[in-house]
Amino acid sequence: MPLVKGEKITDDTFVHVADDAEIPADGAILISSARFLENAEALSQRAGRTGVIWPNSRDVDDLVPWLDRLAVVALVFPTFRDGRAYSQARLLRERFNYRGELRATGQVLRDQFLFMLRAGFDAFEVKKPADAEAFANTVKRYSVFYQPTGDGRMTTLHRRMMLRHSESANP
């Protein structure tokens, strides 16, 4: 499954470690939330980079104490119709100031890339290779955004305010 970061397909340096497999002392790993929380203190201080796969049915609050020590938080779209991870993503970025990689996993389709970007995702395990290749073009589809999220894109209300001010400044 292609991983897209920075609008390009890149290699995934993180290894997914199954719940019954041994966690290497070093190296970049992705482990389940249950596994992580069993031993969070120790795991968050391991030598390699650690990432957690967080289910969409659980509040992100429980992960918050460890956020500044995690390299990746992977959220899940079990079906493309299930939009809970969009809320989780925004909370992580905008309320809890998470700065690491926020990865979208599961059913990730082309037509959702822009929503995901705006919600705060910056890495995407894309279901279809053709979609991954189309990423850069797809996210250019829209230039107008009505509502604010933490992505910094200027909303229409603000653009209109700016237009008004520049009109009155330069009559």
Partner: protein, 553 residues
């Protein structure tokens, strides 16, 4: 009328291009139907029995004449020459081809019309009072807030994949013409003791398999906090609404399962945390003014209440009958709101032909400052008619079949498309409505009966709002035959209430007889000629009506 600016138009065009690409990928096999279905629903495209159905948004039920002409064009060019106005102030076309939809959308985009989020598990058309901006006694025009909400909810990255559909309605009048109490979020605009504009927020209304009347979650949210408060509600719903069972996925179920107090606390907690961390959604006066400034209002003349033209026309009993039925008070002296009945005798309720739409657009230009309204009861309205123009307007409307004087009467029926069109239906609704209009075609009889709302749904999804009909008719299936359950006493307004079943379902051929029996019972039992049917039911209960109907069945 809201004037779309460059930004609004750009967004609509970008959406059309995206959908064009999605259709292309679908037809080339790069998208499965399972993946595409969600995308086409987000553009109002359903699959029905014989064809696709295309639901076009008419935000808060307001259209310009130019837009109405373009709807007529779409009906002619891409469909079978007519459209159907819905119980959510939208319009539907029933015969559209998927391959031609991008072009139809592009044509609509030219006049600022779109189909964004008219279906799917997202936030739908924000509906309002079809008399917004012109109703006497209105606090202020609710469409300004409807537009703010429309923009905020359009292509919202966090809320485009909700557990289920989500519907808003706003009213700003004491009498609720927007049926806010049967919406997921209902907003009652009013002023607080300090004279500030804000909203009573109601949540969890909805019909369908488990109907609920909405409950108040907060008695006053200041206008500037509207969007942030709505975001808090949506976020709680997005995270905790059920995803395992589509029949239990609406917010009304979440509110019911948590209880309104606990739900209100969840929302309040979320809202407080939002306000603590940032104020991006707080509306300042400048932003509200900016949207308000894009609404234009007519340059009304100073006109007399009783012009000569009306005095003369008063001698014509047919004109008078129509005027007394279809013409309503306007907040400006000398003007009137005119309701156009789309319920002709023997016709399918809520339909208009392309020819009617074109002629109506011309009449709107001539008599209503180019503006038309769509009501959730599936009629249209001209909101700015000078009273001196009423006689001339009536003649013109009568010529095109838009002057049936049955507004709010027994033959002004609200009906879903039913089994003739819809793949969800169990039974037909349109022929039932048609037969009822024939039984009650006599206008004197209809006036004698007085205000009586009949609502017909072809299945439990209740798109005809049968639960809140004064008489509600629900199509069910029994052994392959069409049967109908009848309820009475429902209301959709500020005194919203669900109707009560009168007895076992009756077969297709008997529905009109049953309704006649119910009406006869009412006429015999009402306390006074002006006691409305729905009030008689409230006073007497279901029993006397049940007795009458089932005595010989």
């Amino acid at each position: 009328m809201y004037a779309y600016d460059e930004l609004d138009r750009t967004l609509i065009n970008e959406r059309v291009e995206e959908f064009r690409d999605q259709v292309k990928r679908r037809l080339a096999g790069e998208l499965t139907e399972d993946e595409f279905k969600m995308l086409r629903l987000q553009n109002g495209v359903y699959l029905q029995l014989h064809a696709y159905m295309f639901r076009v948004a008419i935000p808060y039920g307001t259209l310009s004449s130019k837009q109405l002409r373009q709807l007529a064009h779409v009906a002619r060019r891409y469909d079978r020459g007519y459209g159907h106005f819905t119980t959510r102030q939208n319009i539907q076309f029933n015969w559209i081809k998927l391959a031609e939809l991008p072009d139809a959308l592009a044509d609509l985009a030219e006049v600022g019309i779109h189909a964004m989020q008219t279906s799917g598990n997202n936030t739908r058309n924000v509906t309002s009072d079809q008399w917004a901006g012109v109703a006497p006694g209105e606090i202020e025009d609710p469409r300004i807030w409807s537009e703010l909400l429309r923009q905020y909810t359009t292509l919202h990255p966090e809320f485009s994949f909700l557990p289920r559909k989500f519907k808003f309605a706003i009213t700003a009048s004491a009498h609720d013409r927007a049926a806010i109490k049967i919406h997921d979020i209902g907003l009652r605009l009013h002023k607080n003791a300090e004279g500030e504009t804000g909203f009573e927020v109601l949540v969890g209304g909805g019909l369908g398999r488990t109907p609920f009347i909405a409950k108040t979650i907060k008695s006053f949210v200041h206008g500037r906090d509207l969007l942030s408060y709505v975001e808090a509600i949506l976020r709680v719903y997005n995270q905790y609404g059920r995803r395992d069972n589509i029949y239990k996925a609406r917010i009304k179920i979440l509110v019911h399962e948590l209880g309104i107090e606990k739900f209100a606390r969840e929302v309040e907690d979320e809202w407080q945390e939002m306000r603590d961390s940032d104020t991006a959604l707080t509306l300042d006066d400048a932003m509200i003014e900016d949207i308000r400034s894009r609404f234009s209002y007519p340059a009304y003349e100073k006109l007399p209440h009783m012009p000569e033209e009306l005095k003369t026309a008063a001698h014509d009993p047919l004109f008078e009958r129509w005027r007394k039925n279809s013409v309503f008070m306007h907040k400006i002296q000398g003007y009137a709101i005119v309701t156009l009945s789309l319920k002709p005798v023997g016709g399918p309720p809520g339909d208009a032909t392309a020819d009617q739409m074109d002629t109506l657009a011309d009449l709107a230009d001539k008599y209503s400052f180019g503006e038309i309204r769509v009501g959730h009861e599936q009629n249209l309205a001209l909101p700015h008619v000078a009273r001196r123009d009423l006689p001339a307007l009536w003649k013109a409307l009568d010529k095109i079949g838009l002057a049936t004087p049955n507004v709010n009467l027994v033959s002004d029926i609200i009906a879903c498309p039913g089994l003739d069109y819809c793949s969800l239906a169990n039974a037909r609704s349109i022929p039932i409505a048609q037969e009822l209009t024939r039984r009650f075609a006599n206008h004197d009889t209809a006036n004698l009966i007085g205000r009586l709302h009949i609502n017909i749904s072809g299945c439990i999804n209740a798109c005809g709002h049968h639960h809140v009909g004064h008489i509600g008719i629900l199509g069910v299936e029994k052994n392959g035959e069409e049967f109908y359950q009848i309820t009475i006493g429902g209301r959709a307004d500020e005194n919203a209430e669900l109707g009560a079943l009168i007895g076992p379902a009756v077969p297709y051929g008997e529905v009109a007889d049953v309704v006649e029996d119910i009406v006869e019972a009412y006429l015999a039992l009402r306390a006074r000629p002006d006691e409305l049917f729905v009030d008689s039911v409230k006073r007497l209960g279901v029993e006397p009506f049940r007795e009458r109907v089932y005595a010989t069945r």
